[in-house]
Assembly symmetry: C2
Homo-oligomer: 417 residues x 2
């Protein structure tokens, strides 16, 4: 990882070669590499901090916003958290080699389905340099080479972190190229990177709508989209309104900037009079926009257009709609939702059953906050993202979602008649 | 399905609307539609045969090859086989609603993972009109609307078949648009079809390399590639040579035109003298090409270039390589294979273990013919194709591979702290 610029295709070949070795590495060796990497990060934290200081100075000189600079900035505590993350992943169960199913055919062929690494997992990400460490940890534990392309703003930080993690790999007898960082972060190489079908087995973009749009337009490699969360809470006619209010407040305000925060509230007309004024009081710091029937029940509420109903605000803003039936609620959610997380508050078993069956989303939640759609909250120990697509992985992606399955068929000379 | 040409985007919207209804249809209703469709095909076989006769006449007038015309031609027996296929799929277990996993979190949240339909499954296919019926059957049983685009050569046949299957849907109370056939089969609409992200949840192309290349270049919808099968049989130093010979002959000659036929033989040097002359005798009708060491052991064998080793012949032709070790065999297979099916003949447990772990393919087979990689042979009852990609589905795709998973989370008012 010196100063020379290596062609991105050659970097891909190096990652691919390393992936063959990593795929057959033992769990013990992979864990040792993660622990050694964690130690290297802490031991040489000063090296990372110095590199990061130059990134931060460059960003500040360029007039970057304080919020973006904060995401870029590392501290000793943040480096400690990166190391702790690697140690946490090392403690998780290795998904590789898990036999998910097995059966024997009438002709005696024994068929098993076994989890194996994908190969090379490519991640494109934005300013946070901790993703370099977090993504590497999940990829390495699941037997995949990590082929990483961060932002140019974080380049010095990423180079420093990658060099230390590669040192940890080598110390554990694994190939350094199990982590390959792309250092040419020009726009021209982005499309080339997304087109490396020979090298990349799966691309996971971690970023905003512009990055996702670029992947949809330019990627020729298989990818998993971690997309928007335009999440709804639907308060049914039979909801416990105290419980529903607590869920709406939590889903909207506990952390408004994340994808599993609620962006829209849908209320059954039968409880709108009783419920909406309480929402107005509880969410006094939240900008509310709604349809005509919602606006009639909360003073000063703005008008919600279809564009508002379709939008992930990621802010203290909530769209509100009133519906006459469960059918109308389901139609509204399916029309405006982004397929991430949709919640219903109800005491009616049939309503809960219909909502969970008929709403088309990665996660459907009955009587709890949308904020629970998360790898840690689901018990996966860590997550690489939350898929909003239907193929391969849907919802929070942990180590298992970084694997594929292979059929292993064992016979005794069978031929086909 | 009249004569008017409807825009492909509007057809997509119709399929999407129907998919919402089909997703919540009962197994009994879906099965009734398949059985009714099967009856319609047989009752009105004359209508199909008349339409097909016009397709065949058009193809013959255009000088189409006899082999292609044969794929296009329907007979009463072939229509009977289509109907039987629908009845067979109706008898399979419905994958929708299967709970694949479930657990409870410390906070009491109950999480289950449930199989649900993908939504709209699009299939692009070539001349065989029976795919219209076969693909519809698998899509409908798994709760998906089928959005079908066959070739222009089979258009009249496909229109007749689709109309009858739609009649079966309506007779069973399901929406006719659970099967939507694209009747504008011009080249211009192909790219538009592959770009309908609002409508298509999964595209499965069924055709040759030109179609696959077009999908890779043009598709903006999620897809599953049913690609080449450059399948190898590796005969290890410890193989039972009688058994290995039977497997090689079966894998190469039992049906050479299909993707799970063997295209390449790799032999360990320790048994090359004993084995290769027997291969030459047993495969006297097969054109053999090989590397220098193979050619020294079989008279008259041609030279195999790297291009030959990388090629799916789909014919009575086989490439042959001699290797000095299991490592070399694995490297050769991973270099030239297409990730479909790879077999080893061995009596050595460690060799079988290493081959199955380290070879990167959808199916790895020990001591049996490569021809077994098939939905029916694996026990799935039917298959929509064989995926050579790693995401979503890998290997034979049955009904389950036409579904996605949804997290259903049930709480009692939990909010996130």
């Amino acid at each position: 990882m010196g100063d020379e610029v290596v062609a991105v295709s050659e970097l891909g070949r190096r990652a691919k070669a390393a992936s063959r070795l990593l795929a057959k590495a033992s769990t013990a060796d992979k864990d040792a590499a993660l622990l050694a990497g964690a130690d290297c990060l802490e031991t040489d934290a000063d090296v990372i901090l110095a590199a990061n200081a130059s990134d931060v100075a460059r960003a500040e000189a360029a007039g970057t916003s304080a919020a973006v600079v904060d995401r870029l900035r590392l501290t000793r505590a943040r480096i400690g958290a990166m190391a702790a993350g690697l140690r946490q992943v090392a403690a998780l169960r290795d998904p590789v080699g898990e036999v998910t199913e097995g059966w024997t055919r009438p002709n005696g062929l024994a068929i098993t389905k076994m989890r194996v690494p994908l190969g090379v997992v490519a991640i494109i990400y934005e300013n946070r340099p901790n993703v370099t460490s977090d993504a590497f940890g999940l990829c390495a534990k699941s037997g995949n080479a990590a082929f990483l392309r961060g932002s140019s703003a974080a380049l010095a930080s990423n180079i420093a972190i990658a060099a230390l993690l590669r040192r940890g790999l080598v110390a554990s007898g694994l190939p350094a190229d199990a982590l390959v960082l792309v250092t040419d972060t020009s726009h021209e190489t982005a499309a080339e990177f997304m087109g490396l079908r020979e090298s990349i087995d799966c691309l996971i973009p971690r970023g905003g709508p512009a990055l996702i749009a670029s992947v949809l337009a330019n990627a020729r490699v298989p990818y998993v989209i971690d997309g928007d969360g335009n999440c709804h809470v639907y308060v049914d006619a039979s909801a416990d309104l105290d419980e529903a209010l607590a869920i709406v407040v939590n889903a909207k305000t506990q952390r408004p900037s994340v994808c599993n925060a609620a962006e829209s509230l849908v209320v059954h007309a039968a409880v709108a009079d009783a419920f909406l004024p309480r929402v107005g009081e509880a969410l006094v710091d939240v900008e509310l926009v709604g349809d005509d029937r919602a606006r009639g029940r909360i003073d000063g509420m703005g008008v919600a257009t279809d564009e508002d109903f379709g939008k992930e605000f990621l802010d203290l803003k909530l769209s509100v709609a009133v519906v006459d039936s469960l059918d109308e609620a389901i139609d509204h959610v399916n029309r405006f939702g982004s397929g991430h997380t949709e919640a219903i508050c109800t005491r009616d078993l049939a309503a809960a059953g219909r909502f969970t069956r008929e709403v088309d989303a990665a996660a459907v939640i009955v009587n709890a906050s949308t904020r629970f759609t998360d790898g840690e909250e689901f018990g996966f120990g860590a997550e690489i993202g939350i898929s909003t697509q239907k193929l391969h992985a849907r919802g929070p992606m942990g180590l298992r979602e970084l694997t594929t399955l292979k059929y292993v068929v064992t016979g005794a000379g069978q031929i086909r008649g």
